[in-house]
Symmetry: C4
Subunit: 275 residues, 4 copies
Amino acid sequence: MQSITTELVHQTITRRPAESHKGTYGRLMLIGGNQNFGGAIIMAATAAIYSGAGLVTVATDASNFTSLHAQLPEAMVVDYRQTAYVTQLLQTMDVIIIGPGLGTDQLAANLLTTVLTHVQAHQRLVIDGSALTLLAARQQSLPDAQIVVTPHQMEWQRLSGLKIADQTPTANRQAQQHLHAIAVVKAHHTTVYTNDRVWFNPGGTPAMATGGMGDTLAGMVGGFAAQFPDFTNAILSAVYLHSEVADDLAQSRYVVLPHQISAEIPKYMHRASLA
Amino acid sequence: MQSITTELVHQTITRRPAESHKGTYGRLMLIGGNQNFGGAIIMAATAAIYSGAGLVTVATDASNFTSLHAQLPEAMVVDYRQTAYVTQLLQTMDVIIIGPGLGTDQLAANLLTTVLTHVQAHQRLVIDGSALTLLAARQQSLPDAQIVVTPHQMEWQRLSGLKIADQTPTANRQAQQHLHAIAVVKAHHTTVYTNDRVWFNPGGTPAMATGGMGDTLAGMVGGFAAQFPDFTNAILSAVYLHSEVADDLAQSRYVVLPHQISAEIPKYMHRASLA
Amino acid sequence: MQSITTELVHQTITRRPAESHKGTYGRLMLIGGNQNFGGAIIMAATAAIYSGAGLVTVATDASNFTSLHAQLPEAMVVDYRQTAYVTQLLQTMDVIIIGPGLGTDQLAANLLTTVLTHVQAHQRLVIDGSALTLLAARQQSLPDAQIVVTPHQMEWQRLSGLKIADQTPTANRQAQQHLHAIAVVKAHHTTVYTNDRVWFNPGGTPAMATGGMGDTLAGMVGGFAAQFPDFTNAILSAVYLHSEVADDLAQSRYVVLPHQISAEIPKYMHRASLA
Amino acid sequence: MQSITTELVHQTITRRPAESHKGTYGRLMLIGGNQNFGGAIIMAATAAIYSGAGLVTVATDASNFTSLHAQLPEAMVVDYRQTAYVTQLLQTMDVIIIGPGLGTDQLAANLLTTVLTHVQAHQRLVIDGSALTLLAARQQSLPDAQIVVTPHQMEWQRLSGLKIADQTPTANRQAQQHLHAIAVVKAHHTTVYTNDRVWFNPGGTPAMATGGMGDTLAGMVGGFAAQFPDFTNAILSAVYLHSEVADDLAQSRYVVLPHQISAEIPKYMHRASLA
């Protein structure tokens, strides 16, 4: 098991080339946010945009459009019931995030099917939240694409079949190999399972133990994946910075709110890019 | 009569254990916010989340979903007209807050009945605002649960039958014993009546005399009750910090707005946890 | 013509008594904000609440509820089409503001009629914006109440019949006497016409020349009138502080936005209360 | 090719005359924001208002009213489907911005036709975003008015017929002469083509390469055009300050969000006005 290091983050987050435009930094679609959990997709989209993704579209329940735009005019929106339009847009994306606040009803299941059916080998896919519960219920192998799953321990239990007490690095590793996706198993110290290694995140604070923190991480993972060529390093850097920001904010706060993390991301990325 | 002290607050707000997750800090449901008073439930939910409650769901009029999410994506929402769903969710909660902006119509009365019928002995219940007016109109004893009522003096008059001029500590104590709930009687200096003592809150400023300040306190009481094992100390600490934050903000403000209190809570709790 | 002075403001904005509650600081209703001009009533309500009015209700088009609550949960709302309910609430108010973003259609005219019909002698009434245009079109004397009109120069022309070039202090004074209301004639240096005097506001900056600045002043005038016993001094103090805040903000800004004024009011009032 | 200079900006942004009112600083209408791209018109309107335009009306899809007002109460709104009302309002405007988030459907095309048909010689018109794509598809000469187009390189390709690799200053100049409008061609270093010169913007940072940055520039161009007599200098100053703010914010941020630019504009304009 190897610790994610500041050096790895600094090597990943490079200075942006002068000659570039928003397309250079990726097209990203988030899918989630039903009528009850709309906040989750707002928090994930906020994190993706503050992480620097170039063009962000949110496919969500139409009842979430206004609250999303009220705080995040930078995102575009599409009704996730417009299947044909969503499917068409999916082809144009570099990164897809599915799951934050998605729920587990038939519509949610259909959206996951759409994504798993249409995702292309060159695309990157983040599966989070409710989509992991849906995925666990299927006995289906993942399609050929660059995929990362971001479960907390209970979601990982559902997905891997490993009870929380049995989630040792070795067992997790084995489960991840079977899954054919990178696995970010969220805990006090998050561990990341890639094809050839087990990574350990040194940061993390119980001040992060609040609803929406995972949605924010999913958004960051997607945002980083939209910009940085090495998929694994993009994921590891997102995990590392997410907890580093939280650790710093927790120096003066009993609880850190998800949107407070997102607000800080551009500064932390800037510092990393200079080193 | 005994003053709430900084020491009590410091003993209550302990450092969070490293190995913990959002579930550790409680599931909390707020019920309130009709079509006219939606702001009240937004302010209460904001206070609960900034107090560190782990998972917060707001059962409210559907017309309030968007304004709530626009400033507080961290909350989940449910239409309080979906009685079956609300009742089902209630079973899973650690803390329930009913009343902020609830109103006193038939729907409100039915929601209060649902809560009083289904609340379980291990759950904690905060009854505030309009729900106190509804409660006063019933001649019904409270169910077996950990209950706190948070009336201002006029609401306490309705609930206790004591005219404001007659609300002496002794008389209040007697009324509270009859009620079988902890009573937080809000005034310039708030007093708290527990089963065995009368507590006096040393803080408080007329800069707090503005609409929504009570909703914010209700949210803090619920948020603290979701996290700290001793129910009485959780309540006393919320009362104390609520006025301490206000007193500090009033050093430079003629009036303190409720949302300004909430924004400060994580810092005050952090300081208390260090001491 | 006499200048409004810091001393007058300091004498008006007194320290709040310790034993007080939100009712002490007034019940205030704002009426305005149609489907096109909803922002105006939001800005006016914001100013009223940040000025310290105890309980603020906004009667507006229902389409404005969400945007209002998204930034100002402290306000209560009512659909201004619910005539019976609005009329009933009107009786309970200390201060009524009518006009910001109201428009001039039949509904607006009816609302003005309702207010002028039901306003009571002990109530205070601020007539602003579109309501002034409506008022100018009627040849009707004002009811017996404490009334202030807050026109800019063009609205004053409509109301007084005086062309802008003819709006000298003497002519304005005469028109005001005829109107039986205090008149705040907004200009680079605003003048205020009371029953016995003409007041001159020393502050003001062209950085205030932006949409919504007048709505903010109307909200401040109402908020101050809800709290301070002398109606004239309340108005004069609101006029003075409104431009004082703007002058200070304009030290570093080419244009001052209305909501930026409101955010500063509690601090300026606090300072005035100490002097 | 000539660099836009600080001196030019300082000469353009003059101190506001004391005797002035909101009408002095222009009436501006923005047209855009369909059901998917509502954020674009919010960002453009925000930039226009923070640039100091006196009275700003947004013609957009009605579903965007609430999110717009939730963050920008200073703007007025009108449903862009109310053709007669929009057309009537158009006559009263000093500046019109069409395009941010407008989309390219039939409604969008009709709105562009309405604007091009009704715009008057004394009015100023900013054509941006989707409206440029619509314009490129027509073989129609522009009407007699003060017009500026603000394409990024791909939009300029559509409009001018020049492939990105062929967009040399000389070729662009020729295309602009043919177009009969000032052209702001957005790139890492933006170039501006006026009737007699080619201007080069010295600022710009890849931290600006994010969705919405162009909408913000369009809003600034319109806001400046509403206030400053020389149309060319107004455009050049907006381009210059837009990137100057971004360059400064990028000193500490990996990505600069559009709304962060707008928040800074009043301070930068103030400084320019003093010099």
